[in-house]
């Protein structure tokens, strides 16, 4: 992997050039609330102008014009600006909220259409969660960087304009400091930035280790390692302490450098003012307004540099979002289909999650219709992968999969997947009522149909015994039910879906023998008139299956009835134990 790693500097350059283009593309895709943005900008510019006028009137007052008119005007300006700036904050917050809403929706729509293989480096679970959390990056870019840059820039220009109207030489002194200020801010921004980033990741790492240490305290107790762990903890907190102190010193250094620029500016301004005032080329009012404006101006310039640095921080997140928005979606074209039936057949199917590592290397097998087939093999042999290919979560690299003799890839994806229903190990229950959970993915369901499904899944009795029957709320992941109860609800859901093909993934894992054998009867009932595939690595399912398919090291080594298959597979003979010889 290290061999062809590109030069980091060049990558950075290319990324930076691409960033702006990506930003623009993103803005187009995420439906910005343009009207709100324009109102915000107009208001903001109005408030800036009010501020400039306010400073000018203050200068006029201090220059000796203490007339009632000036004072009234000044007070009016202060109050209007107060109102205006509050309004700007409000409009800004609403705009932010709108941007976030639009962005989250767009991202969610997109994510739901992503193919499984988009998530190669992380589990889909983490990936999806992180993506939707990342939605705020667009809002941050616009409201915390782009718009503030505009308003800081406008402030600087407005101030220069006003000072220029008093005396052109003063505005020159102001301008002369801009390059120096930018240079220093840039230098310190750069130093700080690189140090902070490294420290932040170091800090996060230490925090994580501390968190893990704390989580593992029971382990330390069981192994009587309390003293060693305490030492480890002291070491970690010590390192955190040194990191914090270092960051604080850096902060001090940064504010020192900023103050240094301010001081230099104060020196230059004082000297200029002294000469211009003493030879009478400017009056007191011009000087006072210049003096007051100076802090506004240098504030605006500092802000500009800060926002510029912010932009760099945001880039990473924006890149990631842009990458997702550009990603290929699942192809939904193809022939529509309903009520598919028939045998499922795999011919010479090869597949690997990465190019260099194959999971399935030439699979040939059949899952006959109206039959329960057990898919057997040791953990990691490729059983789940095979099922993922059947439901078209992934596409095979070569080979064909057919249903009733026709290639499954010819059908429209959504229609095709609707023919399958999966009952997973956990049952996929979420917080919500029993009814919501059972009807999930099945559209509108009548009460009778719901009752029938619950009865058929032998869930009716225990559901009715719950405090509110079908309207009882389940906890997160259905934690207030037993494993068997969760599976029954999942079966009821599968029955309601009217999908012809039912896939059970390790349905009786971590269940005691009594509960597991009861569940098998439920599954047998559900299998009537359907095609069922059961993934298993415990022998309990053999009571359910009419046929078996054995997967070993990425190929099917035996299939058929148990007795037929057992002749070809030593694995199966061992696995099934007594049952084969019966």
């Amino acid at each position: 992997m290290k061999r062809n790693r590109p030069d980091p500097d060049r990558v950075e350059l290319r990324e930076r050039r691409g960033t702006w283009l990506r930003f623009l593309k993103l803005f187009r895709k995420c439906r910005l609330p343009w009207l709100w943005l324009i109102v915000y900008l107009v208001l903001d510019i109005g408030v800036i102008n009010l501020g400039v006028s306010e400073t000018d009137y203050t200068a006029q007052l201090f220059a000796g014009d203490t007339s009632a008119r000036t004072v009234t005007m000044l007070i009016a300006l202060i109050l209007i600006r107060l109102l205006g700036s509050s309004l700007v904050v409000f409009v800004g917050a609403v705009t932010s909220a709108r941007i976030n809403q639009n962005m989250r929706t767009v991202l969610m729509e997109k994510v739901l259409r992503l193919p499984m293989d988009f998530f190669k480096r992380e589990s889909p679970r983490e990936g999806v969660y992180r993506i939707v959390r990342n939605a705020q990056v667009i809002d941050s870019t616009i409201m915390l960087v782009l718009l503030p840059i505009i308003s800081a820039g406008y402030t600087a220009v407005a101030v220069i304009g006003r000072v220029f109207s008093h005396d052109w030489r003063l505005s020159l002194v102001m301008l002369a400091f801009v390059p120096i200020q930018i240079l220093i801010a840039f230098l310190f921004g750069r130093i700080n930035f690189s140090l902070n980033e490294r420290d932040a990741s170091l800090n996060a790492g230490l925090m994580q280790r501390l968190a893990e240490m704390v989580t593992n305290i029971p382990l330390a107790k069981a192994f009587a390692k309390e003293r060693e762990e305490a030492e480890k903890g002291t070491d970690l907190t010590g390192r955190l302490y040194r990191l914090t102190i270092k960051a604080s010193w850096l902060d001090q250094l940064k504010s020192l450098s900023e103050s240094a620029v301010d001081l230099l500016q104060a020196v230059a301004i004082s000297i200029t003012g002294y000469f211009l005032l003493s030879d009478g080329s400017i009056n007191t009012r011009g000087w006072i307004s210049f003096f007051l404006f100076c802090s506004t101006f240098s504030g605006a310039i500092t802000e500009l540099t800060v926002y510029w640095n912010n932009l760099k921080i945001i880039q990473g997140g924006a890149n990631r979002v842009a990458e997702i928005m550009d990603a290929r979606e699942e192809d939904c074209s193809g022939e529509p289909c309903t009520d598919l039936t028939g045998d499922l057949e795999l011919r010479e199917v090869r597949f690997g999650y990465t190019e260099d590592r194959s999971v399935l290397t030439g699979v040939n097998c059949t899952f006959p219709d109206y039959c329960v087939t057990a898919l057997l093999g040791v953990s990691g042999c490729g059983k789940t992968t095979l099922v993922n290919l059947l439901t078209r979560l992934y596409d095979p690299q070569s080979g064909t999969i057919t249903v009733d003799g026709r290639d499954i890839h010819g059908y429209a994806l959504q229609d095709y997947r609707a023919q399958f229903v999966m009952v997973s190990q956990s049952g996929m229950l979420f917080s919500g009522t029993v009814r919501e959970n059972v009807c999930y993915g099945n559209g509108a369901v009548s009460d009778e149909a719901l009752t029938d499904a619950l009865k058929q899944a032998r869930a009716y009795d225990f559901v009715m015994a719950l405090p509110d029957g079908v309207d009882t709320r389940l906890e997160e992941y259905g934690a207030n039910l037993s494993g068997g109860q969760r599976q029954r609800l999942a079966v009821a859901r599968a029955l309601l879906s009217r999908a012809h093909y039912i896939i059970l993934d390790e349905p009786a894992a971590a269940m005691d023998a009594i509960a597991a054998s009861e569940l098998m009867e439920v599954f047998a009932e559900a299998a009537k008139g359907r095609c069922m595939i059961v993934i298993a690595h415990t022998a309990a399912v053999l009571s359910l299956a009419q046929r078996v398919v054995v997967v070993e090291d990425g190929v099917v080594t035996a299939q058929g009835t148990l007795a037929e298959a057992a002749e070809h597979s030593a694995f199966l003979r061992e696995f099934a134990g007594r049952r084969v010889t019966q």
């Binding site: 201090f62 203490t66 917050a93 739901l112 305290i217 903890g233 302490y241 005032l277 009594i514």
Partner: protein
């Protein structure tokens, strides 16, 4: 209303502060430097005002102005140094104290607080400094306000009358801000929780959503969650508008008041324009000090509230490690005599009496929820029986030193706890001495882990990720078994330790364990009834009670539950 409770809380918080050494000198330094910095700022103001008004006189004003500007910048920076040292020091000492306590905490208290313990240690510890700092800040603020008011009154006494007005306004706006903040946070937290819960729970089922073809349904639900988040955002924005108008208006109002009162004074000649400008600059400084004063109460309450959890945890009892005697070298029977135990008012084990014979293989069976795991935790002495006692031979287990007791037992859980580190680190975790490569490999071989370790990049140096996240469930279990075997324990407890393994690996591991533990005490919880014929002794639990205890044949004859379990097993095989 809650006076009694409040008092109790403060008492606990004070106890928390007594448990660490507080660097008082740093806080003292903070006060002294704070006052010095205010003094410099007050000296600086007249010169700055003269500069602002263009009164340069002969130019000496400029020199002093610049010198004081430099000095006040430096003072502002130096002032912060003791404060960040104090903050980091207190946080570190608090963290160390808390970790030490958590490690010695009794298991029940630990389990109750387990989910929050991490955030208490990583975040809440910094609140301890917040409490002291708010008091220190109050004292410094008072002194600074007093100093600025003295300087102001030197200009004109009548205008100092503004100060009480400002103070009242500050109190009002602080109160209002607190109220609004509360409303905002409550709404914000709710909306955030809703969205997060939706994302975490629903979108985490990404694969299943596709399998259940429910994209449209998810989209509708997701949009609803996003929409309610948007509404909460707008609600918060409206509150911010009010807050900004009231809170942000103070400095504007001060300026207005200064002009309204000051300009007539200038016009009738009692003060000069320069003095008016100076007054404005002073009052801004005074305002900064004053504004921190009314928040003392709120911040004290806030920090006290935040420290509540830590101080409660510190009040929980620790385990007693030193007991009466060391553990016998020779192995003994483990005898439960009328042991009852429950979580809160929920009984788990009721009046359990049985013997786990030494040097034998004992199988513990029973339906889910019958109390099997609790039984193991009682053996490990993570819990103390509510009534009854456990004996090691004839000696009460309670009398044996805790570390020695736990060191002779190796305990493997169904969901083993591993830590981020290499395979080797994890396998050798329990060892008090450096391990040889050969030993580690032997333990891995016995646990059927050698083969998969060899295939991992780096082999024994492979980093397994947080809680072993880069390994499969079966691989994690085998690692935990290897770790237990490394200890060469006198007693081995296996709680469904092989349930994530496929049948073959499971058999191989079990065979190896039985071989190794020949003649030593082994206790297994398992759903695998094949083990029944291979074990020497069986304990059947049902609903927290011992239904049978004895050799397999005897137990089977006496226990309907065991018979049912066997029937269910035969039915499927």
């Amino acid at each position: 209303m809650n006076g009694q409770k409040q008092k109790g809380m403060w008492k606990r918080t004070l106890g928390l502060f007594r448990s660490i050494t507080i660097p008082w000198y740093l806080y003292l330094l903070q006060v002294i430097l704070g006052l010095a910095s205010t003094k410099v700022a007050l000296l600086y103001i007249p010169y700055m005002t003269n500069m602002q008004m263009g009164n340069f006189e002969d130019g000496s004003v400029i020199g002093i102005y610049l010198a004081l500007a430099l000095l006040s910048t430096l003072a502002g920076i130096v002032e912060r140094i003791p404060s960040f040292y104090a903050q980091a020091t207190v946080a570190r000492r608090m963290q160390n104290r808390l970790i030490e306590h958590a490690l010695r905490l009794n298991m029940r208290s630990l389990e109750r607080s387990a989910s929050q313990l991490v955030s208490w240690i990583t975040q809440d510890c910094s609140y301890a400094d917040g409490l002291i700092t708010s008091v220190v800040g109050f004292l410094t603020g008072m002194a600074a306000a007093y100093m600025s008011i003295t300087s102001m009154s030197a200009i004109d006494l009548s205008m100092v009358g503004l100060v009480p007005v400002i103070l009242i306004y500050i109190c009002f706006s602080t109160w209002l801000e607190g109220k609004l903040m509360f409303l905002r946070e409550r709404r914000g937290r709710r909306a955030n929780a809703e969205l997060t819960a939706y994302l975490a729970e629903h979108l985490s089922f990404f694969t299943q959503i596709k399998q259940l073809h429910s994209q449209q349904e998810e989209l509708q639900r997701g949009k609803a969650a996003i929409r309610s988040y948007f509404k909460a955002d707008v609600y918060q924005a409206a509150l911010t508008l009010v807050d900004g108008l009231v809170g942000g208006s103070l400095s504007s109002f001060i300026t207005v008041l200064v002009f309204v009162m000051g300009v007539p004074l200038v016009n009738n000649g009692s003060i000069s324009l320069t003095e008016l400008a100076a007054f404005q600059n002073y009052i801004i400084l005074a305002y900064q000090s004053l504004s921190s004063l009314p928040s003392l109460y709120t911040s004290l309450m806030y920090y006290n509230g935040q420290l509540f959890y830590i101080s409660s945890l510190m009040a929980e009892p620790e385990e007693v490690y030193q007991r009466k005697q060391d553990v016998d070298e020779a192995d003994q029977d483990l005898v439960f005599d009328g042991v009852s135990f429950g979580y809160g008012d929920q009984p788990v084990l009721r009046d359990a009496s049985f013997t786990i014979p030494r040097g034998k293989l004992t199988l513990v069976v029973g339906p889910n929820g019958s109390g099997k795991t609790t039984l193991f935790k009682l053996i490990e002495r993570f819990y103390t029986p509510d009534s009854g006692a456990i004996y090691f031979g004839s000696c009460p287990a309670e009398d044996i030193h805790l570390p020695a007791w736990r060191k002779r037992i190796a305990y493997v859980l169904q969901e083993p706890q591993l830590f981020d580190g290499t395979i080797r680190d994890n396998i050798t975790y329990g060892l008090d001495r450096p391990a040889e490569d050969g030993e580690v490999a032997a333990a891995a071989r016995l646990a059927q882990a050698e083969e998969f370790i060899a295939q991992l990049p780096g082999g024994y140096d492979f980093e397994i990720g947080e809680n072993g996240s880069r390994l499969s469930g079966g691989q994690r279990q085998r690692l935990a078994i290897a770790r237990a075997l490394m200890l060469n324990p006198a007693c081995l407890l296996l709680d469904e330790a092989t349930c994530n393994l496929d049948l073959f690996t499971d058999r191989a591991v079990t065979d190896a364990l039985m071989q190794l533990m020949q003649g030593r005490t082994t206790v297994m919880i398992s759903h695998n009834m094949e083990l029944l014929t291979r074990s020497d002794h069986v304990i059947v639990l049902n609903g927290g009670q011992v239904e049978a205890s004895g050799p397999p044949a005897e137990a089977e004859a006496h226990s309907p539950v065991l018979q049912a379990l066997l029937r269910a097993n035969h039915g499927s095989i």
